[in-house]
């Protein structure tokens, strides 16, 4: 069965969605990601959706669910590279992904995560 690879980069997990997202794939990703966060002690998850050009309400909700799950497991989520058309669709669907951090591209997303993880460490 298809799976979306989850890459570990230091304290971050990197997910790049390169294929058409269907519902089963999204469900699998959610489960895999939760397990991987626990097993790898990841502090943050970066989801790159720059190749995604179609979303439905299910996908929008799934992104929200992934973010909430990660937060409970003490990992932040950043969604990066959303296309304009996708953003407009999600907004029109009434999904504004509250609580999910966003960045324009992977580089900026990494900066964001690094800053926030460093900040959190310093605070502790």
């Amino acid at each position: 069965m298809d799976r979306i690879p989850i890459l570990k980069m230091g304290p971050f997990l990197l997910v790049t969605i390169q294929v058409d997202m269907h519902d089963q794939l999204a469900m699998t990703l959610q489960e895999d990601l939760a397990e991987k966060i626990v097993s790898s002690h990841a502090r943050a998850v970066l989801i790159d959706i720059s190749a995604l050009d179609m979303v439905d309400s299910f996908m929008g909700r799934m992104l929200g669910t992934i973010a909430s799950t990660s937060r409970i497991l003490d990992a932040e989520t950043v969604v990066v590279g959303m296309r304009p058309a996708v953003a407009i669709t999600l907004v029109e669907l009434g999904i504004s992904l509250p609580g999910v951090r966003t960045a324009l591209n992977v580089e900026k997303g990494m900066d964001l995560l690094r800053a926030s993880v460093n900040g959190a460490e310093r605070a502790q």
């Binding site: 969604v79 990066v80 590279g81 959303m82 296309r83 304009p84 996708v86 953003a87 407009i88 999600l90 907004v91 029109e92 504004s96 992904l97 966003t102 960045a103 324009l104 591209n105 900026k108 997303g109």
Partner: protein, 288 residues
């Protein structure tokens, strides 16, 4: 229409004479405002095209295939004349002025038979009326095209996205925001965010005359979409009346940053980008 109508025959045989009297009629009706030379040619073509259309096509069916040449001539006539500043009424009057010459020709042809004459005149009236109405229609259609073209142009002109600084965009909105315009604004803003990689966008609504719940909702949608792409939005240029309207309407702008002026918003944007504007060293005026 009667098959034995004499209209095509008269038009064909007395075309030249008709044209002459028609043009005289036109220049009398418009007090010489119309240029005869420019008119004569299309008028002759119309008179030439009519008999064929009348013989083959049905008078009731001016949209039919046989009337195509007639329609072409009329469209061209209407277009050129409206371009020269004639109103739709004047162009229609132009066509209607053929009535008198045509009726006179019919009278000469038919003579004393009142019933036949009445019938022919009725047919001729029907024909001329349709032609006149057709020119009006063409003129109206041309106007509508102009209006819709201007609308699209206005839409394009009114949504510029300007770059204020590296990573800071501004979107000065002018005029009323409706759904269609919001869509265009949103698209151009998001595209510009992708293109320039800006992290902050300032939406300036100084030029938006009124903000009601719908406009506020549109603004919030734009802000939400930009946020999803990873750019922050600041709304600026909120006038005092608009601020109180927003509060009275109970619109919740949520956690969107709002500022009174574009300058304030720009200052915030600079701070968030870890930039600062500082006064340069004072110029040395003492020597002068």
């Amino acid at each position: 229409m009667d098959a034995i109508s004499k209209l095509p025959l008269i038009l064909e045989r007395d075309g030249a004479q008709l044209l002459k009297t028609w043009m005289a009629e036109v220049s009398a009706a418009t007090r010489g405002r119309l240029n005869d030379d420019a008119l004569t040619e299309p008028a002759r073509e119309l008179l030439n095209a009519l008999p064929l259309a009348l013989q083959k096509g049905d008078l009731e069916e001016i949209q039919g295939p046989h009337w195509e040449r007639v329609r072409e001539v009329l469209t061209e006539l209407s277009r050129t004349q409206t371009q020269q500043g004639l109103t739709a009424t004047e162009v229609a009057t132009l066509v209607f002025s053929i009535k008198r010459p045509l009726f006179e020709a019919l009278e000469q042809e038919i003579g004393k038979d009142a019933a036949a004459l009445a019938k022919e005149i009725w047919n001729a009236t029907l024909l001329v009326d349709r032609l006149g109405l057709f020119t009006t229609e063409v003129a109206l259609k041309a106007r509508e095209e102009v209006i819709s073209r201007q609308q699209t142009e206005m839409l394009e002109l009114s949504t510029p996205v300007v770059k204020l600084w590296e990573g800071i965009l501004a979107l000065p909105l002018i005029g009323t925001l409706d759904s269609e315009r919001t869509q265009v604004v949103m698209e151009s803003l998001l595209q510009e965010i992708v293109r320039s990689g800006a992290a902050i966008a300032i939406i300036d609504i100084t030029g938006v005359p009124t903000v009601d719940t719908l406009v506020a909702q549109h603004l919030l949608k734009t802000v939400a979409a930009a946020r999803l792409m990873g750019a922050e939005c600041i709304i600026s240029g909120i006038r005092p009346q608009i601020a109180s309207t927003i509060v009275h309407l109970g619109v919740n702008l949520g956690d969107v940053a709002t500022k009174a002026t574009l300058a304030d918003a720009f200052a915030v944007a600079l701070r968030r980008s870890d930039l600062a504007v500082v006064r340069s060293a004072p110029a040395r005026n003492e020597q002068g």
